[in-house]
Symmetry: C2
Subunit: 137 residues, 2 copies
């Protein structure tokens, strides 16, 4: 397969594939004229890379994890990174959940005209500047 085919099947741009190769995430054979040639499995690999990117892993982390993924056993440091990223993802999910809850509160608040129900979201009128009576005097 050439780069355009892989790109289309994996749902990314050819540029992205060249970028992945530049980052060491993806290898390719070359035709005598220099064009990239991929095996079918490249599509799967690209999709996995995409998943990890979507999960917020930087390319450097993916680079360190891919050997571990390929061989099935990684160095202890890679394993540690693996667990750390897993934890980070879990935390990110919690953050998303809390933000979504905040938006849901706003939605509820917009649906029921009861502005008193959620004082945490209402801004108390911004008081004008007062010379801040000196704490200890």
């Amino acid at each position: 397969m050439r780069i355009g085919d892989v790109a289309q099947r994996a749902g990314v741009s050819p540029r992205a594939l060249r970028y992945y190769e530049e980052q060491g995430l993806l290898t390719s054979e070359r035709t005598p004229s220099g064009q990239r040639v991929y095996p079918d499995a490249a599509v799967e690999r690209v999709q996995l890379i995409q998943q990890l990117f979507t999960a917020g892993l930087p390319s450097r982390s993916i680079l360190r994890l891919l050997p571990c993924i390929d061989t099935g056993h990684g160095s202890p440091e890679a394993f540690e990174l693996l667990a750390a990223e897993r934890d980070r993802i879990t935390a990110a999910m919690a953050d998303l959940a809390s933000a979504r809850d905040a938006l849901d509160r706003v939605i509820d608040l917009a649906n029921h005209p009861t502005p008193e129900h959620c004082p945490a979201l209402r801004e108390p009128a911004w008081a004008p500047y007062k010379p801040e009576p000196v704490t200890a005097h």
Copy 2:
């Protein structure tokens, strides 16, 4: 409160607060000499802004949502954006879950030396270039 206090209590940098103000997300009174002064509630507001940033909302969206959040009722367009962002967050959570599952599979695979259990993750050795026997000739 001055900018440093708010920054510390909200867990962000002073630079971030100036940036928020620049983007219209945060207002401030000024002392006669030009220094920013915030009410206590600013801390809460900054934390909310941070939540939304963490959830992946761009500053422009937050800017359009904050009036809605402050007043408790938004324009229909703001309401639409609200729902759209909520959906986006839900989708992002699903993506994170799927990526975490992928990592979990790798972790399992690293723990149990049974490389055959997960063929989807194993790279079939990259075959060297073959002139791709012409399909029709």
